[in-house]
């Protein structure tokens, strides 16, 4: 409980990019769980956050899915918000100017159904003030490929990354989909295509059935599972990915406490995002900043770097280590 903790918790999430994505601390509010920042401005000291990521923005305005859009699941929740958002044009009218007045780095999350639309949005964002970076959400159906999810395929994910990279110098985070059978191939492909950092995991597709009504509970039928329930899956994917790529990895999925965040750092994450936990415990991100510094101090670490990946042999050896066969199958 020392008042002043000294360890260096700052991190640059875009070391390959001259524009840098330097955060004072590695605690980031996740997309879709923090609105556009303003929703939490009166509730927590948002300027202290390492960064925040906006709700996903799409090419056109979307009113989202019909209700119900959320339902609880064991130690988690399912959401099918359907990307309700003002669209890229509505977005740029309001938020970049607002965020320019803030000190907290603001990252825009973008979603689209075609490679061209991703690039179109990125080109518009490139000209805006107040943006620290772009996070590409590839957990979207690719219309040109019959709706097969961009993020399940290395080549499709890379194509989106390249198209965005071509039109903007902003730091670029690519957010992977846990639906990919081989997350490492996707990670390597987007790294190669120009991603400055990789974030994971997005929600996992799930569903719940209303037994009384005899139909799916969510109007959209399926939704994305988030929260503590998915934490072990997220930690495993971060562990695998962080050992495979050289760009920084941003871990998320079910973080509810310092212990959870440390699992991700030790597995190889350079920063973490907090999603569902914010709904349940809005003060958590701010507490984590303090608790992390205090923990590093108590354990004798001078900086966050010193713990990143230390539970991960492949990461330590810089060996692009892939899990052994039985491990990867979870025997």
């Amino acid at each position: 409980m020392s008042a002043v903790a000294t360890p260096d918790v700052s991190v640059d999430l875009a070391p390959r990019n001259p524009r840098e994505l330097r955060l004072r601390n590695p605690i980031i509010a996740a997309s879709g769980c923090f609105g556009y920042g303003e929703e939490y401005a009166g509730v927590i000291d948002i300027q202290r956050l390492g960064a925040f990521v906006s709700k996903g923005i799409t090419p056109e305005r979307r009113s989202g899915n019909p209700m119900p859009r959320i339902v609880e699941s064991p130690a988690g929740m399912l959401n099918a918000i359907g990307l309700q958002n003002p669209g890229i044009h509505g977005f740029v009218k309001k938020y970049p100017a607002l965020w320019e007045l803030w000190t907290v780095p603001a990252i825009v999350n973008i979603s689209a159904e075609t490679v061209e639309d991703y690039a179109m949005m990125a080109a518009i964002l490139d000209e805006q003030p107040g943006l620290a970076g772009i996070e590409i959400n590839v957990s979207c159906p690719n219309i040109a490929r019959g709706g097969y999810c961009f993020g399940w395929d290395p080549e499709m994910s890379a194509e989106v990354t390249r198209a965005v990279r071509d039109v903007t110098t902003l730091p670029l985070i690519v957010k992977l989909s846990p639906g990919a059978a081989d997350i490492i191939s996707v990670a390597l492909a987007v790294e190669e295509a120009g991603a400055d950092a990789i974030s994971l995991i997005n929600t996992i597709v799930g569903m719940a059935i209303d037994v009384r009504a005899r139909k799916p509970l969510l109007a959209n039928h399926t939704g994305g599972v988030s929260g503590p329930a998915i934490k072990p899956i997220a930690v495993r994917m971060v562990y695998q990915t962080a050992a495979a790529v050289r760009v920084p990895v941003i871990g998320m999925g079910g973080i509810m406490s310092l212990g959870d965040a440390l699992e991700f750092f030790l597995a190889g994450a350079s920063a973490v995002q907090i999603g569902t936990a914010i709904f349940v415990d809005p003060g958590l991100p701010i507490r984590l900043i303090d608790e992390l510094s205090r923990w590093l101090d108590n354990e004798g670490f001078a900086s966050l770097d010193q713990i990143v990946g230390i539970a991960n042999e492949g990461f330590r050896l810089g060996e692009r280590h892939v899990l052994t066969a039985w491990e990867a199958a979870g025997a």
Binding site: G64, M67, I70, L262, G283
Partner: protein, 273 residues
């Protein structure tokens, strides 16, 4: 590292507080009145219709994960306490209903907008369906203290589900309806309000959505130029309670609106239900 560490003082947010359970009393059949302490400044400013998102799990357990919204049933400014009416229904409310005095609860709030009493309103009609009675009790407390005329109509499945008359200020006219006729009118509460619709200059309702549809059908022919206004409180599953997740939206003429910040109170004429 333990999740219990999250209970430490200084939770990092200005809208959360730990409250101590002061009393738990049975009411309306299997429901309870749960009274908790709250900061005086909060109780002072609280308005009827506002709610709190309560964590309904043992510290360290992540299931059930989400907070549950509960409207304030009564605010006692002298004792600096809040009372909630909780009907044990699913996992969260069953847990809440088992709390004992001395235990602490993790509260987020106050949240949401409130039932407005416009200046010059004098005659208020309140319509409660089941556990939806909660925010209307606080509204009636406040309105009665202001000397307004109140007709309070409540419907329930049977007499056990009715609010005891002793819970309402003496000046309030209280009418009841039960599905089985065990007390008051046999049938729906909406069947006994016609006379009061024309009388009232504001109507307030809280109950299940079918009640609002019936209310609309009953009241609309009696209202002129959409007067009296009908203020309803909608119930939506919630995650954040702060307008960030868009999981609790209500379809209105102005689009999909977060009911946790720009509700739960809506003008009946604005919402699509």
């Amino acid at each position: 590292m333990q999740a219990t560490a999250a209970r430490a003082p200084g939770r990092g947010s200005s809208r959360e507080f730990e409250s101590t359970v002061l009393a738990v009393e049975p009411i309306m059949g299997d429901a309870i009145l749960l009274t908790v302490g709250a900061p005086p400044s909060l109780v002072e400013r609280l308005l009827p219709g506002q709610f709190f998102n309560v964590a309904c799990r043992f510290p360290g357990s992540f299931d059930p994960l989400l907070r549950r919204p509960y409207s304030v049933y009564r605010a006692d400014r002298e004792k600096s306490s809040l009372t909630f009416l909780v009907r044990p229904f699913g996992r969260g409310s069953a847990w809440l209903a088992k709390r004992a005095p001395g235990e602490t609860l993790d509260m987020l709030g106050p949240l949401g907008n409130w039932y407005a009493i416009p200046p010059r309103s004098q005659r208020l009609l309140m319509l409660a369906g089941g556990v939806g009675v909660a925010p209307l009790v606080m509204l009636s407390d406040d309105a009665a203290a202001q000397g307004l005329d109140i007709v309070f109509v409540m419907g329930a499945a049977d007499e056990h589900g009715l609010l005891p008359a002793s819970e309402l200020r003496g000046s309030i006219e209280y009418l009841v309806a039960t599905d089985d006729g065990s007390r008051g009118h046999r049938g729906l509460a909406t069947e006994i309000i016609s006379d009061y619709v024309a009388w009232a200059d504001q109507i307030y309702a809280c109950g299940p959505e079918p009640m609002y549809r019936t209310l609309r059908a009953v009241a609309d022919p009696l209202r002129i130029h959409r007067r009296p206004k009908v203020q309803i409180s909608v119930e939506r599953g919630m995650a954040c309670g702060l307008g960030a997740c868009l999981g609790c939206v209500v379809e209105t003429r102005r689009g999909m609106i977060a009911s946790c910040v720009r509700g739960p109170v809506f003008d009946l004429d604005e919402v699509v239900i």
